[in-house]
Symmetry: C2
Amino acid sequence: MIVRLPNTFVFAQLSSVRLLSAFSRSVCYFHPVPTAVHLQSGRSFITTTSRNKAVRINSSKPATTAMSLPTIDRDTLDGVLKRRFFFAPGFDIYGGVSGLYDYGPPGCALQANIVDVWRKHFVLEEDMLEVDCTMLTPYEVLKTSGHVDKFADWMCRDPATGEIFRVDHLVEEVLESRLKGDKEARGETAEPSAGAEEKKRKKKVKEIKAVKLDDAVVTEYEEVLAKIDGYSGPELGELMKKYIIVNPATGGPLSEPLEFNLMFETAIGPSGQLKGYLRPETAQGQFLNFNKLLESNNTKMPFASASIGKSFRNEISPRSGLLRVREFLMAEIEHFVDPLDKSHPRFSEVADTKLRLLSKDTQQDGRTEVEETTIGEAVKAGLVDNETLGYFLARIYKFLIKIGVDHNRLRFRQHMRNEMAHYAADCWDAELHTSYGWVECVGCADRSAYDLTVHSNRTNEKLVVRQTLAEPLTVEAFEVELDKKKFGPKFKKDGKKIEQFLTSRTQCELEDLAKELSEKLKISVDVEGVEDAVEIEKDIISIEKKTRLEHIREYTPNVIEPSFGIGRILYSLIEHNFWIRPESDQRAVLSFPAVIAPTKVLLVPLSNNEVFDPLINELSRLLRRGGIPAKIDDSSATIGRRYARNDELGTPFGVTVDFQSVQDRTVTLRERDSTKQVRGTVEEIIAAVQAMVGQDAVSWEEGTKGLASFDAGSE
Amino acid sequence: MIVRLPNTFVFAQLSSVRLLSAFSRSVCYFHPVPTAVHLQSGRSFITTTSRNKAVRINSSKPATTAMSLPTIDRDTLDGVLKRRFFFAPGFDIYGGVSGLYDYGPPGCALQANIVDVWRKHFVLEEDMLEVDCTMLTPYEVLKTSGHVDKFADWMCRDPATGEIFRVDHLVEEVLESRLKGDKEARGETAEPSAGAEEKKRKKKVKEIKAVKLDDAVVTEYEEVLAKIDGYSGPELGELMKKYIIVNPATGGPLSEPLEFNLMFETAIGPSGQLKGYLRPETAQGQFLNFNKLLESNNTKMPFASASIGKSFRNEISPRSGLLRVREFLMAEIEHFVDPLDKSHPRFSEVADTKLRLLSKDTQQDGRTEVEETTIGEAVKAGLVDNETLGYFLARIYKFLIKIGVDHNRLRFRQHMRNEMAHYAADCWDAELHTSYGWVECVGCADRSAYDLTVHSNRTNEKLVVRQTLAEPLTVEAFEVELDKKKFGPKFKKDGKKIEQFLTSRTQCELEDLAKELSEKLKISVDVEGVEDAVEIEKDIISIEKKTRLEHIREYTPNVIEPSFGIGRILYSLIEHNFWIRPESDQRAVLSFPAVIAPTKVLLVPLSNNEVFDPLINELSRLLRRGGIPAKIDDSSATIGRRYARNDELGTPFGVTVDFQSVQDRTVTLRERDSTKQVRGTVEEIIAAVQAMVGQDAVSWEEGTKGLASFDAGSE
């Protein structure tokens, strides 16, 4: 895959002057680092191929952390997700469209609950300004942000069959399959079984032939695979030639790699003239509304905006279920901060949070061990660039843990210098481990002043903060003065262009011009739109360093951007909470925390005898009034089977109404994971449930304190 | 505007046989009604031009109901909405794109709160199955639903300037402007002033010339305007010729009307071969997943699915702010019901709800008076077709009142026979009155089995319910039997096609064939894909009426579809809750109910003296813990001005911390609308606020019972 935007490659196209003038002091300039292991841009986290890296890391370099992680049976899980309609391929009765998924009721509720926790955890807690901007985005906006030119992957085409391949994936799959053939020929064991989708995909690659390779070739293949994310299109083309990579199904030759822009294009309005795209991220709308947001915040800094909404990427070959799709839900925060002060007032509240960090230095050494350390220590040591970035890493961690992510399957991986945009100060991804490998689920980057600056330059709309200084500041700067009486008549209609040219010079350029003026008693400049070189004599112009008092400081804020891929989080969460009851491998359980479980309570009458109806309906009404989603299962299946069905749905609590209930209004309450049961009156049980769901849920032990335990026998 | 899909026009293209076989018993067949006053399809409620109708009704026929409605100063309101960033044109620093709006923090919170109430009121209360389907939709799906062929408006082009006009809007504006010129020439008064946007738009129409028209021409123009929604494209073309309608700005000639499909088109995947659209509604995803949803509901009927999400329509000339936009939030319910039993188990709970109904008969008489009646009476009298439809009308009413709609500015308008799809049993729109006229905000249609049937026919996937009958049913039906030994050798390769043809005949067709067979001792049929006419002799085929016992009843459910345009509701709600304090016309107030107010509490320290900080922060923390969104305003503005600012944001409660508060922990609580104040301890005030926000909020009087009233003097 190629590096996406905004990234270092874009800036190679800009002049160095532009570079120096466009960015503020805190920017780290571009230092190329030769060995690219994880070449990815900060902005593109949803499409980058963590899966590949992880699979590669796990297979070729079995790092200790990866090996000790639990594995799941993906086929069984896929069965549960399909049977319970968590999600399913969209338009499947029409044959389906790859990369498009519909969420069924439990998936939709799970997603809504994750979003709800997100909103309370970030927007409400931090008083962020949430906005909802359109997905349709005109060409000019995404041209300026850089997406039109650089938001692309490399593909190649089979001219005979019309098939299209994503080049990096193709090279990877072919080399992996040859290595596997080599292993087979050497009599070594095969890898553990993959999920159904992966099996299907691998079928496309020609039957693995047990062909032994030279040891040197094996080493070469492994090196290529280790760097697969770092190759440019032409380099991938070279690899295809060198290793004779053809259409695996037919053996036919393939075209050279071509760039394919990942944005969906459309035309806005009836003329067909206004080109637009579906947004590839929700960030741009927040940047464009910066002035209105600052105003909404009574011009106080720092502040954050937030947005939750769908984004779109036209993947060449979508795969890995929900992990690489064409339409997905994102939640993004843009925290605007003074570039001179990135401290955070609430940092002390999170300083003791322990995170599992994989630093860039560790990766540079070719290792993947994480270091568990407090965020306070990490910021103090300079490992994490600043307090605000550190604060958000800790908040992201707390959010993920709250919704049920496994601490041991969560790491924060720092971007290496070469996978980060040159203007970024620091960038960390929260990665979750799944059966597909480590998956980037949240990106958290310090994007400096890049975004506001490019949009401001393009539109001539100032996107800045004006800060009244407590004490006026003495500023020394070169200033241009023109003798208008002489300047006007001399340059006539070109006057305005020349004046604009002079006033838009950088301090560095003005210093040079001042020197030229004092040496040659005139300056000579090329002005766009003016045919001849412009010469201005010393009697018309003065360029001198002047000292003035400034009462207002004007600056472009920096942006810290935590960006969440909700679908990826949702899927990883499902894997982290999936297990099989050891007593029976038929009984799968999804142990979601109550706060995100799609349904909180299952109401189970002992049988479909209508004597139970009044109490069941009363329970249902009471729970609804308390805002607790509950479902009644009055089917004729056994109670055990009904609970099993709801274990698969992740419903944390079950309430059974039996004949005794009808007599004395006592019911039993069952906990999903332990299958423990207690008994109490309707009111006691409702109160216990109320205490155990929601944001500040108490534990089962605390919630059911004082209630008699109940033995229902084996389920 | 042309009639949109699915509607009567589509079915004119289908054979009558197909019509008869495709739909179930409860369908009302197509009866053309000549005079079309409100020709609109059930499916297209977001784009239809209620505004025009209403403006027309109000100006030419000042009906009593319309005249007694409050009017608002739209310019003042627009100022508030812009200043407080409720919403704003998208991409405005790039010059904007018409029909695309961004919601700022208060608008976004208002929208989220409306959606939250919607979800609790409908999804949770009724145990609906919520799904989240993709916006990207492949061509085939929307071809089948009919949108590809018929989801269009008529436009015309100025070949000289390239300008594009929506034809019905153009004809309407030109004729209205001529009538206005006539009025001016006759010395009659002008209309009350319109909002800024409308003024700007009207400028495009050439300066109104005070030219007197013949009385006959005035009558003709008024008749055309009354029927403007009912003209086809060619008819609009005739009108343009007859009344010499040209480009109002230049006087240049215009093209014939052309059809313009309102869907945004894009290509899915890298090949560019898979054509797709952005969905124009959220309904299709629910229909396509019918089988999975039925399964999720343990195959129990009836049940409803629901979906909340963005939809897209590429309007030719977007206008009227949020009322006609290109990207909008919808909430749709598909309630699947047995066509033979449309009673509703909870109908008795709503039967006494009084609704303001505008029946089709009243409209047919050219009148607009509403009749206020209980939904129980309306269903009993047959005015509303069935209980389930009536139940949803009442539930829609309760939802709209809960979020703050004015009962007197809400009416339910029944579709007339000719504006409804032929298969629909009945259809009602909830219309809200605004300064733009009556606006369709919710549609509620009984769509019969149309949607499931067309998708099932196209995909050969059965979308049906199988009901085990309590007692087996004796069914008489014509059945075809073939003597396979003779049939196969005779028709060879055509055999399969002929057999398929015979088995897919309707009962009506089989009856005819049986008659033919008994009379001529053979049948002769044309089979698609078989060259010659097919003759089958009596020795090969038998077609006889047979009696059999059925244990399973298989049926395609009917669909009752309440469909909500959230943006339109949100805007109308703002108008319904907007007023100016009589004591000062500077002070605008938005009196949102607490449950949907963007912020619930404003925290106001008396001054920015830091002695107030601890108590303000404590209040903020306590409210946050209670899930109550609050904002602190510690700016240096006067308390009165700070409250005024928040009246514009619709914040229902304000808490002031003063020097006494620091001593004794008592604070004042202010109510937005009455500006009444009470005083109590921090705990008492928090408890009062908690009781007055949320779904089951109590009144100010009840919430503050027992607290001392407080006189803060004039604000």
